[in-house]
Amino acid sequence: MNALRRLTGNCTPRTLWSLAALLLLLLLAPAFLGKYWLSVLILILYFAYVGQAWNIVMGFAGQLSLGHALYAGLGGYIAAGLFFHYGIGPWAGLFAAVAAAALAGAIVGYLGFRFSLAGVYFALLTIAFSEFTRIGFEHWSWAGGSGGLFLKVDAASNLLDLRGGPVMFYYVILALAAGALVLCRALLESRLGRYWLAIREDAEAAQAVGVPVLRCKMLAMVISAALTALAGVWNAFYYNNLFPETAFAMSRSIEITLAPIIGGLGTLFGPFVGAVVLTGLGEAFTDAGDALGIPGIKQIFYGLALLVIVMFRPAGVWPWLSARLGLGERTP
């Protein structure tokens, strides 16, 4: 109860009620959504979740990672490989998946932060690791090499093996997204979270007030990588296939960053709002493109829409939207 009060402490009643209403709506959604809209909502929640995970490193601690596909890919491959080869279910496999991704995050983080790589140089390091992992997996026969790894499709719902239809996957990703939101809120309220913000704003000043900068940055990477790995596991079992070329692709890494950037870096709700905007726009432009019969028009409009949002709402959609809706925290 105390922990709950701490989490919700400063939120206005209006914020809490809105959050509860949204959660209820999401819980009931599969009952009245068709197959297509459910799949759109699944996509939104997936991007909200990985965005939340990436936001810890960039939005909170201020370190630009453009290689988060590495952690999602590692997580997915390990859990899927264990299931495929040894029949080890994903709920057990995810421990190995999370451990491997966390270790990878620790290695990338240590190399980057220990030697004070910052900004784009750190970003380049993260890209490099993701890229050479991709090349490694293309030649690793256990993981299926460049031919990919395929899981048997099984429509019978079996939560233990994470086999089943979209509704089951919907609830799993909803639980992950909600859990990540609560976790990030708790982190931000903690000492570590405050230290991340201090590092993001000015690392030298942070260190002068006693912040152990290297350790805090490492923790951000490890926690973020571990959370991202869970998304990778979910993704692998949802799509039933994995290819190094897509799992570790640069475009996959970029995709992860978009929702929080559009929604609002460093905000708790930004990744969710950004995912709604991005996926919504994407779907709308796909429909428009189909209707007009012009191929490729989706990408053009999608890019333009992002450009407009970034130009007019550089801090993201959520800070502006939350002020409009009167949602937020009261000032203590």
């Binding site: 309220e189 903690s190 000492r191 405050r194 230290y195 913000l197 201090a198 993001r200 704003e201 000015d202 030298e204 000043a205 942070a206 260190q207 002068a208 007030v209 006693g210 912040v211 152990p212 900068v213 000032t331 203590p332």
Partner: protein, 243 residues
């Protein structure tokens, strides 16, 4: 909060052969206020950085109450009791005034609510409480300087290093800051070492003044002695014989 004694023993630092600080020794007794002055580029901030752990001296040691602190990382120096401000102020721009100081207070208080209460009390004393919800980037320069002092104090230091906190302040604001520092020192016995160009503040605050020029200590004495010291006059005004 009580003060600690600071001892610099023959510290020196070179950057790629360029001698920034050479064989500087002096002590600040616990609870005293001393000033470090000298022309631009004399090595004052380099000395501060060696005390605060940003730089490791090539030779010599810095001790705080007898414990060697030179060579420690800045966050460990903070652990040991060194609080500092930056010459070019470095508030956490995107965070509120209260959050800035709370982060400092978290150093010795693990509970955020406790840290926030301690931060609020410090802001009250520095006259920033009314602005606690403003973002640091929206503060004026004098307020940013006060915020830096507040954030450093929140770490509950035993030695406070102030790097030109008076620069850019109006005379009345200088008097307010001087009164605050004197009161702080009197109440808590905090040791203070300040780098300062504003002589009005140095004369009002410092019991002793250390003068450095070209990386070397050229004089050490009371403000009155320093004001008449031939080597100091030479550095600041030039050699009267040559003029």
């Amino acid at each position: 909060m009580t003060g600690a004694r600071l001892d610099l023993d023959g510290i020196g630092k070179s950057f790629r052969g360029l001698r920034a600080v050479h064989d500087v020794s002096f002590s600040v007794p616990a609870g005293a206020i001393h000033a470090l002055i000298g022309p631009n580029g004399a090595g004052k901030t380099t000395i501060f950085n060696m005390i605060a752990g940003v730089l490791t001296p090539d030779v010599g040691t810095v001790t705080l109450d007898g414990r060697v602190i030179s060579g420690l990382r800045p966050d460990k120096a903070c652990d040991a009791g060194v609080g500092r401000t930056f010459q070019l102020v470095k508030p956490f721009m995107g965070l509120s005034v209260l959050e800035n100081v709370t982060i400092g207070a978290l150093h010795r208080r693990r509970d955020p609510a406790d840290a926030r209460a301690s931060a609020a009390a410090i802001l009250e004393r520095l006259g920033l409480f009314g602005r606690r919800h403003q973002l640091a980037k929206n503060l004026t320069l004098p307020d940013r300087k006060r915020l830096e002092v507040a954030r450093a104090l929140a770490t509950e230091p035993k030695l406070l290093l102030l790097d030109e906190v008076m620069a850019g302040l109006r005379p009345t604001e200088i008097d307010v800051m001087v009164a605050f520092l004197r009161e702080l020192n009197r109440q808590s016995g905090l040791t203070i070492l300040l780098i300062e160009h504003v002589m009005r503040a140095v004369m009002a605050l410092a019991a002793d003044v250390v003068v450095v020029s070209y990386g070397e200590k050229i004089a050490h004495g009371t403000p009155q002695e320093i004001a008449r010291h031939p080597a100091v006059l030479d550095v600041y005004l030039g050699d009267p014989e040559a003029a």
